[in-house]
């Protein structure tokens, strides 16, 4: 592994970019929560609050040709990958201008332009898909990396097991990113896994595996560089467990009976944004105006997105069954 390649490049510009991306996700989702209470957004809405460092640390390390598979808590991944807030928000409104034409909603953001393959609401369901994408790349000798994001809850599913084995057995260029936020809905890790060290569990399949502090965007990025580099060069899978925490409820229907408020508060203090921003400020790498500027830019982007989503149009009801099958020439 080339150590030089993997070192994070913490220039001021890069730091600001990392911070901005995390703030973008956060503000976007605050807005989504608000819009949910206004019933502009419906269905299940899963927020990424607290986990921003994972998507922001990993996804920008990927190249354009690489592929991303996510689960249902994927707003952050989509935005960082390059989906516009407009397209994402319009999707949650269910408008035609949404990234999935409005048919998917929050759990099913897709974007062909950025090789973003969802948005899968079956826990573990995206893993075999990632295996297949990577298999195609391997068979064609294309040096692409498929990054597959999922929660630690997925590790109990049979599909996880089958996918890990296939990836290692067939030497597939998949970067598995496990977002271990300690809970699967209300089920704590220790209640769902006999082996709670997920990266160790993955290593049992004989693939490269490491755990990283998922609340530290710099650490995540560094690990992601090593990992993506390794996947691309060795054409083998790599498992990255990012240890993180979800600050909010699982979805909008969750009374959080399963954990103490104090636990959440303690984690909030270690939040990826406060922590990184604080560190940058302490090290004089950014100034209050920088943050103000970011906030202003994000607010403007968001306002534009809301306006766009509001102005969006409804798919005519006559088109209901469209896209069940491809529309062919005949």
């Amino acid at each position: 592994m080339n150590r030089t390649d993997d070192r994070p490049h913490l220039t001021r510009a890069h730091s600001l970019e990392l911070l901005k991306q995390m703030i973008r996700i956060s503000r976007f989702e605050d807005k989504c929560a608000e819009l949910y209470t206004q019933e502009k957004i419906r269905g299940f809405l899963h927020l990424y609050d607290g986990e921003e460092a994972v998507a922001v640390g990993v996804i920008p390390v990927l190249e354009q040709r690489d592929r991303v598979v996510a689960a249902y808590r994927e707003h952050g991944h989509a935005l960082v990958r390059g989906m516009s807030m407009k397209a994402a928000l319009a999707e949650m409104y269910g408008k035609r201008e949404g990234c999935s034409g409005g048919r998917g909603g929050s759990m099913h953001l897709f974007d062909r332009a950025t090789n973003f393959y969802g948005g899968n609401a079956i826990v573990g369901g995206g893993l075999p898909l990632a295996i297949g994408l990577a298999l195609a790349d391997r068979m064609r000798g294309e040096k692409r990396v498929t990054a597959c994001f999922f929660g630690e809850g997925a590790a109990a599913e049979g599909e996880f097991h089958e996918s890990m084995n296939l990836a290692a057995l067939w030497s597939l260029p998949v970067l598995f990113v496990c977002e271990n936020n300690l809970y699967a809905m209300g089920t704590a890790l220790a209640i769902s896994e006999s082996e709670t060290d997920i990266h160790a569990k993955a290593a049992c399949y004989r693939l490269a595996s490491e755990a990283v502090d998922g609340m530290d965007v710099v650490a995540v990025e560094a690990a992601a560089r090593r990992a993506v580099h390794a996947v691309r060069e060795t054409v083998k899978p790599y498992f990255l467990e990012c240890r993180t925490y979800r600050f909010r409820a699982h979805s909008m229907f969750d009374a959080q009976l399963y954990r103490d408020k104090a636990e959440v508060e303690a984690w909030r203090k270690k939040g990826p944004i406060v922590r990184f921003q604080g560190w940058l400020e302490q090290n004089k790498m950014i100034h209050p105006e920088d943050v103000a500027r970011i906030e202003a830019e994000v607010a403007a982007e968001l306002a534009e997105a809301v306006a766009f989503a509001e102005a969006g149009t409804w798919e005519p009801v006559e088109q209901l069954t469209r896209y069940t099958y491809a529309e062919t020439a005949n």
């Binding site: 048919r103 998917g104 609401a121 699967a184 209300g186 209640i191 896994e193």
Partner: protein, 335 residues
């Protein structure tokens, strides 16, 4: 409406609470009963059905499982064979596909292939249906599809009485019983006898008697169908509404008695149209009462599309009262 029972105190409760009471009751009555599934305990159940039960019965009997649908459904099968009476909860019917091998290849076959040595007295409950904009991986109605499988029984409680009463009868059944709870019913509230208990699971119920046409339905569609019957009454059409209650086995006798009387039928079923339970019912009517029919049988089913997210498309995809009214009128030549 079901036959009147002796007067007793009534309580006001929701369908969700009725299911919860049924589970509580079973847990209290029989030490062999336990509830097992994802987030049934600490979280209180995905649809809050089992809220409070963990505190009352403890984590052995209100057993949170890992995300392992095949594993814990199979565990329910094994525990049932060993003499327990497990209630397995699968959050949503779409996830039950992960457990289908265990359901079809094991639960439904063990009695037969063992020559009656082992049976599987297991109850599997799951949420079904659309209406909450949960899109293409959380909104399907596959209960009619499950009803194809010999060796299992399939129930669809649509009323508070049935939500409260079917579980116990299902638990007494020596064979696997799947109970489908429509997500749009959980918040439905109404009155129920305080001492409401077990109900039979082998008969369909005539929820509204009528002479002109039989509207045959079950589960979440029952209430839309009753609404349609009211709308039809306003146009002097007297519709009979049949709630199937059990989708496997089907109560042919009640269906045929109704159709023979009305000579016309519309079947309302939230499953996708092609290969729907509605098709089976239509076919049975043709087989058993063809010469009593005055008109083709109508079907109001879901459109053949993975359920889309936006409200207006989701609504358009599902059976709705106006469609039922229109189908009934068409069957009566009054379209």
């Amino acid at each position: 409406m079901p036959a009147a029972t002796a007067p007793s105190a009534t309580i006001e409760l929701t369908y969700r609470e009725a299911v919860r009471e049924a589970i509580r009751d079973a847990l209290k009555r029989d030490p062999r009963v336990f509830l097992m599934g994802e987030d049934v305990g600490r979280y209180g159940g995905c649809y809050a059905v089992s809220k409070g039960l963990l505190a009352e019965f403890g984590p052995e009997r209100i057993r949170d499982t890992p995300l392992s649908e095949s594993g814990f459904t199979g565990a329910g099968i094994g525990a049932a064979i060993a003499g327990m009476r497990p209630i397995v909860e699968v959050m949503t019917v779409n996830f039950s596909l992960l457990a289908l091998d265990q359901i079809l290849n094991t639960a439904a076959t063990v009695r037969h292939m063992s020559g009656n040595q082992f049976g599987v007295p297991l109850v599997i409950r799951m949420a079904t249906g659309a209406g909450r904009q949960l899109a293409a991986q959380h909104s399907h109605s596959l209960e009619g599809w499950y009803a194809h499988i010999p060796g299992i029984k399939v129930l669809a409680p649509a009323t508070l009485e049935d939500a409260r009463g079917m579980l116990w009868t299902a638990l007494e059944d020596p064979d696997p019983v799947l109970i489908f709870e429509h997500i749009m019913l959980y918040n439905m509230s109404g009155k129920l006898a305080a001492d409401a208990g077990p109900v039979g699971i082998d008969k369909a119920a005539v929820r509204r008697a009528g002479r002109d046409i039989s509207l045959i339905t079950y589960g979440g569609s029952l209430w839309k169908t009753i609404e349609a019957a009211s709308a039809l009454a306003a146009e002097n059409i007297d519709a009979e509404v049949i709630d199937l209650r059990s989708l496997r086995p089907l109560d042919d006798a009640t269906i045929m008695a109704s159709v023979t009387k009305t000579r016309r039928a519309v079947i309302v079923d939230e499953g996708w149209r092609s290969g729907s339970l509605a098709a089976e019912i239509c076919t049975r009517i043709v087989e058993q009462a063809f010469f009593d029919l005055d008109a083709p049988i109508g079907r109001v089913c879901s459109e053949e599309v993975p359920i889309p997210y936006p409200r207006h498309l989701e609504e358009a995809a599902l059976p709705q009262t106006p469609k039922i009214v229109a189908a009934a009128k068409a069957a009566l030549g009054r379209a």
